[in-house]
Amino acid sequence: MSIFGYKPNGTAWVGLTIVGFFVFLAIFAPWIAPYSQAETVSDTWSPSSSAFWMGTDQIGRDMMSRIIYGARMTIGIALATTILSFLIGTTLGLLASTGGNVIDQILSRIVDIMLSIPLLVFALIILSMFGSSIPTLIITIAILDSTRVFRLARAVSMNIAVLEYVEAAKLRGEGLWWVMTREVLPNVLPPMISEFGLRFCFNFLFVAGLSFLGLGIQPPYADWGGMVRENGKAISFGLAAPLWPAAMIALMTIGVNLIVDWILSINARPSGASAEM
């Protein structure tokens, strides 16, 4: 079997399986999960049993159901964030590389200022100012993350923008939008796609991290980072409760990285290397 004309290797299949499995869980959560995510069904931190495969959490909700619903929330938000951040970052990056020196300088210096403030601190400030609803969360992380995307998009497209076919388009009298979307964009896509996987992983961890700090997804919605925090105390009683969501975070991260590694290796092959990096 091949995907986009390329045959995945062994490790890529492992990654695809993991990610595919989680996406399946996220989409069909209400049908798969044995209990609802907010319903208290047993005692606090009851151990694994045939009724509760992964035991229950700090207020007696079924752990496995919450992990299944959590996949929906965590992966969904990370995906929305990454898509948004790529839309912003790539557009501005291409604009900086093709729109002339003044635009480039203005955009790049704004990004420099944003990058000089640590990401987590920046996010904490904004989320404590505006409160942590899901839209604010997505927009905040997307804007912060788009600075990194901007940097990459600008660097890659700078190399494309000086090539003669771009010059030929400018000589023809084409507008900036055409040059950006038709001449430059198709040629920066391969490295941007592989970066998408990496940024997705990062955003996924960031959402989990914010939830762990209590600023991410708010109860009663389940999300893996928040679940680690809520069940953290169980570890001192020798219980496995926080390890389940933590393991899911680790597994998903590994899965996405395996796929990204594979995409990067396609990109490094002569046939796939269209952008000069």
Binding site: L163, E164, E167, A168, L171, R172, G173, R182, N187, S274
Partner: protein, 546 residues
């Protein structure tokens, strides 16, 4: 005598990982003091044989058969340690681009001395002395202090000579020259050629000389081997190959090269209406005056060649005309209408009338667009045609440039260099221009392919009456296609007029120098030029001494 043979290659076979045969059972022998020229077009396997002689291959290739003996030792049977000992010490390699082969972070002398010290042949002080002696032999300026400079502080020709010094540093028995003068200007090429010849003679080394230019190889080599697609076509004495080639392919190469030495008979043309009129144009790159007071005109249906060495401002002039380089003063009129200084202020129709063809077709075509999109876009953009009309026009344009119509659905990456350049021409024609600016359109192509492109351009001119401003450094091309010639030097126009006048005595001083520097297809050309120049140089030195 067998001991005389320093390099012996038998049935060398090199394949790529994917199984493509790059070098197909090539055998050659090299005696001490002998130079063998390897000639062929790109993809002929010249360079692959050159580095194969060191039992080395580029990434993605491997030697699958054959014997390589250097001084009687079979290098393929040695351990990697043993091979390293042979390379540099017994056989040395001089690459095409010296600029890319030097480490920019180290001084030249340290890089030249590195090899003999590494091989344990000399102590640092000795190596230094020997390097300076080599610099002297290679006629480098201030040989005592030359090595103290960094690679970016010396010129391209000097760097190429420094690289020859580096290869000589271990006194190898065999040197492999891989197009050592291709990246140089013709006037610099002469000096480097002469010194390579001298150093081979003085130190009695054997050499493989790889090049695509027959005239260059004729100057330095004793024998020539013609290669094509990894196969040996013909091998023989230099004189025999030049005067009586046996194989049809060699014949084509020789006759094509000979043609470049004569003026074409069709160059006289009465000038009709002037379409491009440049008056006293001046253009700057930051503070550098790249175009300095140029006055030049192009008439309808005529070819004007702009010649000069690299850095003479030829391309800058082209960029100034199309508006990529803002002009500081002077005027550029097209059909009597003043063109705006910058590209952004020009009208769509002004842009349409002047089209551009680039030197490197690989980067002039978007690899993510199909040929149909590339050629169809100007039709759609300038003439607002419907989809069906665009498709029809694309087919017509493809026919005009001699390509099958079904190429419209392909990507440019699937085409060869010559085909790509044809697409570039089709894209320019799609705008139905009055003038096409050609910036060295054939210099990245193989000789025979370039020849086809030139013929196509000429045919299109006859059919469509389009004018060309043809930028080139190759005087052979000028002789064949240009009605008028403009010679540039350091941003200025030094000579201008009908080609038949420019290329006939009395010459302008610089034009004569340029003309004399173009290698001609005879074995004694280099000697004769050098004796002519040597005389005048000695006189100059005498005058300076007094």
């Amino acid at each position: 005598m067998a001991a005389d043979q320093v390099l012996k290659i038998r049935d060398l076979r090199i394949e790529s990982i994917s199984g493509l045969v790059l070098v197909n059972n090539i055998s050659l022998e090299l005696k001490r003091g002998e130079v063998l020229g390897l000639i062929g077009e790109s993809g002929a396997g010249k360079s692959t044989i050159g580095i194969g002689a060191m039992a080395y291959t580029r990434a993605g290739c491997r030697i699958t058969g054959g014997v390589v003996e250097i001084d009687g030792v079979s290098i393929r049977d040695l351990s990697s340690e043993g091979r390293r000992e042979m390379r540099g010490h017994h056989i040395a390699y001089i690459a095409q681009s010296a600029a890319a082969s030097f480490n920019p972070a180290h001084r030249i002398i340290d890089q030249v001395c590195e090899m003999p010290i590494q091989h344990g042949l000399m102590k640092p002080a000795e190596a230094r002395e020997w390097a300076i002696e080599l610099f002297k032999a290679l006629d480098l300026p201030n040989p005592e202090t030359f090595g103290e400079r960094y690679p970016h502080q010396v010129s391209g020709g000097q760097l190429q000579r420094a690289m020859t010094a580096m290869a000589m540093s271990c006194r190898p028995d065999i040197m492999v020259f891989d197009e050592p003068t291709t990246a140089l200007d013709v006037t610099t090429q002469i000096e480097v050629l002469a010194l390579i010849k001298k150093i081979i003679r003085d130190y009695n080394t054997a050499a493989l000389y790889i090049t695509h230019d027959l005239a260059v190889v004729a100057q330095v080599s004793d024998r020539i081997m013609v290669l094509r697609g990894g196969n040996m076509i013909e091998v023989g004495d230099t004189a025999q190959i030049l005067s009586a080639p046996k194989d049809p392919y060699t014949k084509a190469l020789v006759s094509e090269r000979k043609e470049a030495d004569h003026l074409s008979s069709t160059l006289d043309k009465k000038r009709e209406e002037i379409i491009l009129d440049i008056k006293n144009a001046v253009g700057f790159y930051a503070t550098y005056k790249a175009v300095n007071d140029i006055t030049l005109s192009v008439a309808k249906g005529e070819t004007v060649a702009v010649v000069g060495e690299s850095g003479s401002g030829k391309s800058s002039l082209a960029r100034l005309i199309v508006g990529l380089l803002p002009r500081a003063s002077g005027s550029v009129k097209f059909k009597g209408v003043e063109l705006s200084t910058s590209l952004k202020d020009r009208k769509k129709d002004d842009l349409r009338k002047i089209q551009f063809i680039y030197q490197l077709p690989d980067v002039a075509l978007n690899p993510r667009q199909t040929i149909g999109e590339i050629i169809g876009r100007p039709v759609e953009f300038y003439f607002n045609r419907s989809k069906a009309e665009v498709k029809q026009r694309v087919a017509e344009l493809l026919r005009q440039v001699g390509l099958p119509e079904d190429y419209a659905g392909r990507l440019s990456t699937q085409l060869s260099g010559g085909q790509k350049q044809r697409i570039c021409i089709a894209r320019a024609l799609a705008a139905e221009p009055d003038l096409i600016i050609c910036d060295e359109p054939t210099s990245a192509l193989d000789q025979l392919v370039a020849d086809e492109i030139l013929k196509l351009l000429k045919k299109l001119q006859d059919d469509l009456g389009v004018a060309y401003l043809f930028i080139t450094h190759d005087l052979g091309i000028v002789r064949r296609i240009a009605h008028r010639t403009a010679v540039m030097l350091r941003g200025q126009l030094v000579d201008e007029g009908p080609t038949t006048k420019i290329f006939a005595p009395p010459y302008h001083e610089y034009t004569e120098n340029l003309l004399a520097s173009v290698p001609e297809l005879r074995t004694d050309w280099l000697e004769s030029v050098l004796t002519k120049r040597g005389g005048s140089k000695r006189e100059r030195q005498k005058a300076a001494g007094n």
